[in-house]
Subunit: 584 residues, 2 copies
């Protein structure tokens, strides 16, 4: 046995016990004839004391030990003379009488501290060292605990955890698949699942009633900081449910997790907002509800003043930044430049300051008189001291741009506290979205989402108007999860495939098994999937999901530590019957 205790558990009540401990050397301090070592493991830090007067040889050995060495010691628990109230073991130290170096360490390429001096690239290459840092350990411990709590809740609610396959069939629709050549079936490929969607639906057809899985999913897309080629989903499905049943069950899950993990109690039901309303009021289908600053559509109030920009715009949207009339010229210029960056893409930004004396100062003073500006202000419920910011253009891009500006201002003006959580269900999503280039319809969620009963007749006449039984949960502007009631009727599913441009052949070769299953007693069913990486980040008030994944990929999809992907052996390619031709 290497140890009797871990480094987080010894207390004043353990005084005089003889103990064995193991761990890493966090740091040492030398004070005259005393050497102190902070011994670290996942559970905490324990101070080791070496006294020259008691054992000079041991003291000599201790002085030679460096950071990150792995050691094993035996000794007696003593009360500290100067206690450290910041750590659990701060009342005691170990008077060491036996020391064994289990492994030495080179000097790490960056410091193993909360704030490391290593750059992102270096820390990714030495991920095994980066993972020693306390913030990352806290993240992964949180993740492990959350996973367990999710399972506890779902199990109590009669969900079964059922594994679905990873080697499945490629479907060219939607995002790009990762594929796997099959050696046993030459010239054929498996695909890695983008989600277990069709399998969980089949499990409902099979009568499993309530399914869940915490499962890796794969999408071969270009990466951003909140996207990884492999990510983890809390994937759930229920039979004999309507939309409200699913919402109740999973609102329950989220409430349970916030109670368990953060002592946050949501007493009321999470608010619901329709997709249409969310876009209209906030320009986003995952609105940040921690603050107001809703959109005001003021195009009507701008007519007749010969201001071409607004006259030619399909829409003019204003938001009111409370108390921001004090913004400097510099700040407003900065915002103006910011909305023009390509990622946002606005043409310009117009402001109206509501001065304390009741007058208005605006960047379009030459076009609009005080009376007109006062109407704008009224419309936006602006008061003295507020600032109106106005964007214009075609409707949907202006809404998107204004969403960005609203989020930015919410942050700049400190309109919410860290630790605020404002969930909202966004419902009544459109079933389809139109690809502007091709004019084709795509499924907004996926092709298995059911249209609202009352909208089914629109499928042939006006597909763009069909609303879906689909719902997303957003918290603080982060889309945490989404789901829908699924189609369980073969004819309806075929009709939707037709709307999506599938030929009968395509539908049957790609999803024949599902259509087939619907012929044999498919129950009504629906479900939801949450992004587990995002949930962990959100519950820690952090943005970067990479910090919640033990071994993430970089933006080029590489693991620089193990150097993957890499070239294959010729022999392997031969066996698989594939050739690398390079990119065309």
């Amino acid at each position: 046995m290497y140890r009797t205790h871990n480094n987080g558990e010894l207390r004043i009540s353990d005084i005089d016990k003889h103990v064995k401990l193991c761990g890493w050397v966090q740091k040492s301090r030398h004070l005259g004839g005393m050497t102190f070592i902070d011994l670290r493991d996942r559970f905490g830090i324990t101070q080791l004391a070496f006294n020259e007067n008691i054992n000079s040889q041991l003291w000599e050995e201790a002085r030679k030990i460096n950071r990150e060495w792995v050691i094993e010691i035996e000794g007696t628990v003593k009360e500290r003379s100067s206690k450290n109230s910041k750590i659990n073991t701060g009342d005691i130290e170990i008077e060491v009488n036996k020391l064994n170096v289990l492994n030495k360490s080179k000097t790490p390429p960056f410091t193993i501290e909360d704030e490391s001096d290593g750059g992102e690239e270096l820390r990714m290459k030495y991920r095994f060292l980066d993972l020693r840092r306390d913030p990352l350990q806290k993240n992964l411990v949180l993740r492990s605990r959350l996973g367990m709590e999710i399972r506890n809740y779902l199990q109590k609610n009669k969900f079964l955890e059922i594994e679905t396959p990873y080697l499945i069939k490629s479907t060219p629709e939607g995002a790009r698949d990762f594929v796997v050549p099959s050696r046993m079936n030459p010239s054929e490929f498996y695909a890695l699942p983008q989600s277990p969607q069709t399998f969980k639906q089949l499990l409902m057809v099979s009568g499993y009633d309530r399914y869940f899985q915490i499962v890796k999913c794969f999408r071969d897309e270009d990466l951003r900081s909140d996207r990884q080629p492999e990510f983890t989903q809390i994937d759930c499905e229920m039979a004999f449910v309507n939309q409200q049943d699913v919402i109740n069950t999973f609102e329950g899950l989220i409430k349970y997790l916030f109670e368990k993990e953060k002592n946050i109690y949501f007493k009321e039901d999470f608010p619901k907002i329709t997709y249409e309303e969310a876009i209209k009021r906030f320009g986003s289908d995952k609105p940040d509800m921690r603050f107001g600053m809703e959109f005001h559509y003021i195009k009507d109030l701008t007519l007749g003043y010969d201001f071409k920009v607004f006259d030619e715009a399909k829409t003019v949207i204003a938001i009111c930044a409370k108390g921001a009339s004090t913004f400097s010229r510099k700040k407003i210029d900065e915002l103006t430049n910011w909305v023009k960056i390509p990622q946002i893409g606005a043409k310009g930004l117009i402001y109206v300051k509501c001065n304390e004396d009741g007058t208005f100062k605006s960047s379009v003073d030459k076009f609009f008189d005080q009376k007109c500006l006062s109407k704008w202000a009224n419309n936006c419920q602006a008061e003295k001291g507020d600032l109106l910011l106005v964007l214009s253009g075609n409707k949907s891009s202006t809404q998107k741009q204004m969403n960005e500006l609203r989020l930015r201002l919410g942050k700049d003006l400190g309109l919410y506290k860290e630790g605020d959580y404002q969930p909202v269900w966004v419902i009544d999503f459109p079933l389809f979205e139109k690809d502007e280039e091709s004019g084709k319809f795509h499924a907004m969620h996926h092709p298995f989402t059911s249209p609202k009963k009352e909208d089914v007749t629109l499928l042939s006449s006006a597909p763009e108007k069909v609303r879906a039984n689909a719902y997303d949960l957003a918290i603080n502007g982060v889309e945490l999860g989404g789901g829908s009631i699924r189609i369980h009727d073969r004819n309806l599913q075929e009709k939707v495939f037709t709307c999506l441009g599938f030929s009968e052949n395509e539908a049957s070769s790609q999803f024949g098994f599902l259509l087939n299953a619907f012929d044999y007693g498919a129950p009504p069913h629906g479900g939801i999937a949450f992004g587990f990486d995002r949930l962990c980040a959100l519950m820690s008030n952090q943005d970067n999901i990479r910090d919640f994944i033990a071994f993430p990929k970089n933006n080029a999809g590489r693991d620089t530590m193990i150097d993957a992907p890499s070239e294959l052996d010729e022999e392997q390619k031969k066996e698989l019957g594939i050739n690398v031709v390079g990119k065309i």
Copy 2:
């Protein structure tokens, strides 16, 4: 809301309640003016009653309903006149007053009963129907419950569940990898993990102390009934442990699962047997300990009788089948033919019957006199009425053949009861095994297994003699899991790579990250992995792991339901920069 109760929960205490139920029609019976429907879901069966005299229209509708239709009903709970004690809801039935058909069903291609009339192939194609059968539902429910209990135990023991990546690096050693072409890194490939071995070791280097994961692993091997291209492992690792620490922890897990799931209490420690002894006594490194019938080496007792077969054999092994002297000529012929099938490969089988009158009757009577046969019998502790069976040849193949014969006889003679569980730890495995063809050494477990301290010096002089700190757990002849204490020292790891024939370059390009990690304070560590599919099958006294996997592949690695693998779109291949050249 579709239902107020599921089909397994109504009891006599619910009499007169108005309820809503949903489910599948298991069967209907028509008795004069009464129609009874058994309504099924995952939770049970509830009887529905339709009475012509009470509601003739509803009764008419009910008569039209067929098997596997999905219906929704409302009605009142009534006490049954003739109760059914076989089901939990057998005291009640529902007097239905509202009926809604949610979905019809074609007649299934096989019956949805415990014993289906569908063949394997048909049931695989319609897996979603096969999964409705009670035996399969029981299996998957067991699996879900076991997964939860495993997590409960490991969490209580301070293990963290940490996800490791699925897109990793291909290593040509060991079994074949499944590979994944990378679009973002043209001409490079990821591999799917055969196990998270190196990552869990890195997590120990990172200080996570105790890790586990219930995780899919992938091996591109030719398939058998107990092998799948993707399978699930309970993967665990611990820091600062020796072999006995790991064994204690996971013997604890297995005992916990047997208690929770089967009310079986193992009071004693599981026995341990060395690899050498297991091979010697049972011819297997996963011996079935439910019965004896150990091997006896009798070559010495066969010398000097001019029986060429034995004289030329390296070894002669006998087992004693208690009370089997009554085996007929036919039975013995059958066994003789059976040991000669290619999968076993013996040249022949010799028997000695120990007659009740103290004489011996043998197939080699012309060579061996009664006195000699009596010596054999003595050596094997055979008594009157027993049967000796003897195989000969070179040592290791004879041991393997005799292992098969022993297992067969144990079954034929009923030497164990269903529900007997006899675990055994097999320890002190050799570190290497020699490939007979190439003369090269392979790692018996994997290249990261640590040699026993006292054997390290043999690494250069006599690698075949080096024993490993490796251990397997076998129950009833099934290898349930295995693990080892790992190497945590760079020099030792490099020495082992050398023994395995790795050049310095190969070692560094494939496992450089691990060697690198060992330079920065790697703690002593070790772990184990259990086959989850097998554990589930074993705990249900079943052999076929496919029955414990929701959507398994067939022996050709195909999912015939979804028809995977399949050919890729030209567009997909182009994007990935690969060409299918077919098999060479």
